[in-house]
Amino acid sequence: MATVQTQLYQQPKEELISGSEAIGIACALADVDVITAYPIRPYDTVMQYVSRLKADGAFDFDYIIAESEHSQFEIVKHASAVGARTFTGSSGVGWFYAFEAITVTAGLRLPVVAMVGNRALDDPGAFGVEHNDAMAVRDLGWHLYWVSTAQEALDMALIAWKVAEDPRVLLPFALSCDGSFLTHSQAIVQVPSQDQVNSFLPAYQRGTLQLHPDNPITVAPQVNEDWLMEIRKQTDEAMRRTPAVIKEVYEEFKREFGRGDPSPFIEEYMCEDAEIILVGMGTLAMPTRVAVRRMREAGKKVGFLRVKFFRPFATEEIQQALKGAKGVAVIDRDYSYGSPSYGGVLFQELRSAMYPMEERPVMLNFIAGLGGREVMVRDIDEMVETTQKALDTGKIDQETTWVAVRE
């Protein structure tokens, strides 16, 4: 697509912006061709920001406001097939309304990047963060990443296009951002220069898969049982290839921009020698790290493991991180009704990942912060106390505990 690239950031610059605004800036720096939108809180904060960039003439892209989320995701799917770099997103039940388009995007191997502004699913109508909305793509061939700061939102958006569009991968990428805490809070963010981004992020080249008059192809045929398993296996192989690509791209990112964690998949915070490790995703990291620091000051051996990539799930890294712990307290900002132990989704995945280990830690599940309820430092303290009690008595009273729920 013909675009006039305005040099929005000729030099690196410090900004006071929300996570949504950081992703809006990433869209401009990545020179995204097509953005589609349909308003729903808190995803609409990105819409507002890119609209402003467009109105100001700072960022030129095709901006299509669809009549529903379903069309919104259909449009980027098609745009991606013809070779356009795309961005879209939604929240809560809006994301669910787009689900038919969301599943086919992965099936067609189209590297759409989407932001999920995490929001509780209706009913009741609620705006606050819950992770069940984004979780729903976990079985579909999407990358699924949980962001914890505005800086990480910008950085991971740039990484997302590079990973998703890699010819070895070609799978869509969902960036999960906690509603309110990321989408509506402004933090100091280091924005890189356009030149830095240009040298990091190549143009999207779909090659022989590009839908174009010069490359006559058809996509998305109907198949019968003779074909489907092979097609599924191809997507599976792409998902199995992506961890190596993620590692490679993450290392390049760290070299180019000078920031990042040791691992792209997980963040280990004081986990070494920890007897009890808390596990969580997204902005839960803030109160949890504070609680861990205080407990460490008091001499308690506690650590925190932040799961960043939920898909692909970094099984081996997580096994290594947790294997030394006696107790693991998994905090879920989501829930799966009627699931094993009546627990959360992250808990089920972690327990499954730890099953092959010879020495398995005691694992407890804490359901907290649903619908955006604040998770406080004292809540984390209680989780650790409950886990310690299970270790001391050698007895688990209940595997799943709902935290700070009014009886």
Binding site: L16, F127, H184, S185, V405
Partner: protein, 382 residues
């Protein structure tokens, strides 16, 4: 190692840009002092509605590590400075975010400061401001309350005066030098810089002793737990209404026992019962069914239900029957009709004074109010 927090209590939509400017400038200026900060609005306050009390916060720390505790929360647990940009909210804050009335100084730390923009003096404001167990300081910025709208911003330097005052009362949050440098950098406007400096130079505070202020207990509400709530997301209707306040004549609609309006208004209607022609329009059009029909067929605006939207004033066909008056003029929610019935002369004198005073106030919400558009209309006719 230190963390300092500021809250700005403001009227939704009307003062959103004002509040945002203040909290963002605090973080920008603190950067000049080598600190790091965050600025955020209370998520549950939005989507904002006209005039509903809302909050924004700025938290500033020496290090990013310290700041972490103030991230991923809706509201700071306590603040060094509370900034109230509408003096009517000294009566307390009812936002979308919680049920009940939060005293304006509830989050203000011991020895912290409450800054209010007002034409009233400190003693007059303290008639409304709830008592606190600990001492704090009160700084009044003499100014007309600054209201604008979603699409327009009244750039009357209220933000600059607040920031100058803030640097004086809480220099450990941000130095005035850093603030002046930052405002200059962000706005490039010398008169704004000068407004900050003037407010800094002129700022004075008054110590508020423990127990000083309004002794009323703020309205609060106990939320039920999952074992006591009805299942299936059912909300029972309020019972049907009936006669006027226990009597058989007149009519009072059924209303929620627990959900009442106390400080959401920034203005309230004052009724001239002498000129009312009983046309029913205020009663019909009020979005909150706040009008009670009196036994003599008049309409009494019930202040436990009125959100201060001003529709009654806009639809009333009689020029001087309904007038929206600044909420800061009132200290109770008493019935106007009962006052008028008890002593008509006294009521009429009282209401005339209020209505006359309102004509000199520039408090306006952007909706039509009596006389509000006269100048524009006349200009168009010519």
């Amino acid at each position: 190692m230190a963390t300092h927090a500021v809250e700005v209590v403001y009227r939704g939509i009307f003062q959103r840009t004002l509040a945002r400017n203040i909290v963002r400038q605090i973080v920008f200026a603190a950067r000049k002092d080598g600190k790091i900060g965050t600025a955020f609005g209370r998520y549950s306050d939005s989507p904002e509605r006209n005039g509903i009390p809302a909050k924004q916060f700025a938290v500033v720390c020496d290090t990013a590590l310290e700041l972490e505790e103030s991230l991923a929360v809706y509201e700071a647990t306590n603040v060094d400075v509370t900034i109230n940009v509408d003096d009517a909210m000294c009566k307390g804050i009812e936002s979308w975010a919680w049920y009940g009335l939060q005293p304006i100084n509830e989050l203000t730390k011991p020895d912290g400061t409450l800054i209010v923009t007002s034409r009233q003096d400190a003693d007059s404001l303290l008639e409304d401001i709830h008592q606190k167990d600990t001492a704090y300081n009160l700084a009044v910025i003499p100014s007309t309350v600054s209201f604008s709208g979603l699409w327009v911003y009244k750039d009357d330097h209220t933000d600059m005066r607040v920031l100058g005052t803030l640097c004086k009362v809480c220099p450990e949050l941000v130095s005035v030098e850093a603030m002046l440098e930052s405002i200059n950098e962000q706005t490039g406007n010398a008169t704004k810089v000068s407004s900050v400096q003037k407010a800094f130079d002129r700022s004075t505070t008054r110590l508020v002793e423990p127990g000083e202020g309004n002794s009323e207990t703020p309205f609060s509400f106990d939320m039920p737990g999952w074992k006591t709530m009805e299942e299936g997301l059912v909300i029972r209707a309020v019972p049907e209404g009936g006669g006027f306040r226990g009597g058989e004549d007149g009519y009072q609609p059924g209303r929620s026992e627990v959900f009442k309006k106390w400080s959401v208004r920034s203005m309230r209607p004052v009724i001239n019962f002498e000129t009312c022609i009983k046309c029913t329009l205020c009663w019909l059009q009020c979005p909150d069914t706040c009008f009670d029909i009196t036994p003599d067929g008049l309409y009494d605006a019930n202040m436990e239900s009125c959100c201060g939207c001003g529709v009654c004033e806009a639809v009333c066909p009689v020029p001087d029957c309904v007038t929206m008056v600044s909420e800061s003029e009132f200290n109770d929610n008493n019935s106007q009709w009962e006052a008028w019935t008890a002593d008509k002369d006294a009521y009429n004198t009282w209401s005339t004074v209020l209505v006359e005073k309102q004509k000199t106030e520039t408090r306006t919400h952007g909706f039509h109010h009596v006389g509000g558009y006269d100048e524009e209309i006349q200009a168009e006719e010519i």
